[in-house]
Amino acid sequence: MALLELRQVGMRFGGLLALEDLNLEVPEGGLYGLIGPNGAGKTTVFNLISGFLRPTSGSIRLSGTELVGLPPHRITALGVARTFQNIRLFGELTVLDHVLVGQHLRGRARWWQAVLGLPGARREAREQERRAWELLTAVGLAEVAHEPAGQLPYGHQRRLEIARALATGPRLLLLDEPAAGLNPQETRELMTFLQDIRRRYGLTLLLIEHNLPLVMGLCEHLTVLDHGLTIAQGPPAAVQKDPAVIRAYIGKR
């Protein structure tokens, strides 16, 4: 069974049909890409999977569990984490705090246990902090752990958003244009980074990207959207040659 399975998913905003009959199967461990011109409906797909929007039709399953109707925090708890197209960090919180917030949902201590400082709660807090450092070291942000996130350079912010998502302990990671605004050098680093975390944490990745070379080089399978319609699906090499895809992209430019 696929880890993520979308069946006949449709989304309508008032009169606008943003997505129609999307079918998608992402196998465990896969690295899938979602591409398409501006306004194609890619971010909408992420919002549907992560529970910020409710599809007007269709079903979304994670290893067989229906996600439609669950609130975002429950979906995250089931193992789906995401980043945002326009980076959304917790402004004044430090880098370390971001990762700790990401781990919060896995904590077992109750609030009053934390307030009373019971041994179990303290042990858990120490354990979370240890893992946070581990993660920050792994993604190369340990140096800036005590900086407020808002003051980091752009590339670090992108990285932090991914680190924060990783901290929630996901099985599936949704990345919305992770390379946007990065220079070629940073983009190459990002590619290695993504491959690396995928292996290290046994992740399944679903990625939206405008940077076609990056997608072609990275993804095993692509879905191409245009005006909410699926115009092509398949391995990068095949999709690249698809006339509908070429038309959609060239038509826009």
């Binding site: 919180l93 917030v101 919060h104 752990a145």
Partner: protein
């Protein structure tokens, strides 16, 4: 606070922890000593002022939890304070005193007969306010921002109207008189200390971080698995509890309460306190509460008529509030971060500051 780089070795960290723990304990002992001295040697006015300071610390720090830590502009503290005040007052008065107060409509049955010591009465005040918090939390947290502000603002109005009309429970517009005054500074300062401790620890826990994440970006927080409703509800109900307890203290400090006493003005005062202290800083809320209680006392003079060199100078009612609202406006327009921004007190930071400004990177 967590201001140390990973390079600091565990042993020195432990040493520092114990040192700051010792310093904290010493500071608390010193405070206790001062309070004991004030209670013995201070005059009535000074003791009353100290009570006031403690009550305002309690109220401001609870307000800071929902408003500063969670970033929700809750405008109804006065409603919760009123609930706590009435509950505690009705429980501590003796049956005879109640019978003498409720002349028009007798007090309803179980309350008519009971009389409790202050501690359980305060607790009950807190619980009633918290219960009201649980009930109102559901509609309140369906909305955010401006709407949340207006709904909670409405609570003060609703509670006032109810207190005026529920004669058999509140004695209506006449209010309650002759409450037993607080007999020791430990009541107010004990509650203040407890509130600060709870809020401080909560803020620095995983839950408090999640609350701050909601403040910074609720959508992102939810995407990280934070159940925004539960966390906001927790902060809201907990603050309601402390508002209730603080209200009970306030009632027994003033000894006479009536429905209009805890008006939106009280909420406004608390708002100024936490904004000037730095929205989001517990330390700021405490310091600012102390400052404003004393400054408010001092400014009271401008509103009261008094003798100056034998001349009768009329007081100017409202001037104090003009000053306060101008101050709030100026702070929010030009010094939005207030006194402390979001920083907190720590011995390490204090030490660094004292030893010549070589500020360590502890923000926190």
């Amino acid at each position: 606070m967590r201001g140390w780089r990973p390079g600091v070795r565990a042993s020195s960290l432990a040493a520092l922890m114990t040192r700051s723990t010792w310093l904290t304990l010493a500071a608390m002992a010193l405070l206790a000593l001062c309070l004991a001295a004030a209670e013995r040697f201070g005059n009535e006015y000074q003791v009353r002022l100290l009570h006031n300071v403690a009550v305002f610390i309690t109220l401001a720090v609870s307000y800071h939890l929902i408003n500063g830590v969670c970033g929700q502009l809750h405008l109804g503290p006065n409603a919760f304070i009123t609930l706590g005040a009435y509950t505690a007052a009705l429980l501590t008065l003796t049956p005879a005193e109640k019978a003498a107060t409720f002349l028009l409509t007798p007090l309803i049955w179980p309350l008519r007969e009971v009389s409790l010591p202050l501690a359980p009465a305060l607790l009950a005040g807190g619980l009633v306010a918290a219960g009201f918090g649980v009930l109102t939390g559901f509609p309140v947290f369906r909305v955010r921002g401006d709407y949340l502000a207006i709904v909670t603002l409405g609570f003060g109005e609703v509670v006032r109207v109810a207190a005026n009309n529920l004669q058999g429970l509140t004695n209506g517009p006449l209010g309650l008189k002759g409450l037993h005054p607080l007999d020791s500074l430990w009541w107010s300062w004990g509650v203040a200390g407890l509130t600060v401790l709870v809020v401080h620890r909560l803020k620095n826990s995983s839950f408090g971080r999640a609350m701050q994440a909601i403040r910074e970006d609720e959508t992102a927080a939810r995407a990280m698995g934070v159940d925004a409703f539960r966390h906001l509800m927790l902060a809201y109900v907990l603050s309601a509890f402390f508002f209730g307890v603080g209200g009970g203290l306030l009632a027994h400090l003033i000894t006479t309460i009536s429905p209009g006493l805890f008006s939106f003005f009280l909420t406004f005062q608390l708002l100024i306190i936490i904004v000037v202290g730095g929205l989001g800083s517990t330390t700021g809320a405490v310091l600012s509460a102390v400052f404003f209680t004393l400054a408010g006392e001092w400014l009271r003079v401008v509103e009261e008529p008094r003798q100056v060199f034998g001349l009768m100078v009329p007081g100017i009612p409202g001037l104090r509030l003009v000053i306060f609202s101008l101050l709030l406006l100026l702070v929010i327009l030009f010094f939005r971060r207030g006194l402390l921004g979001r920083r907190e007190f720590s011995w390490a930071a204090l030490g660094a500051w004292l030893s010549g400004g070589r500020r360590s990177k502890s923000r926190g």
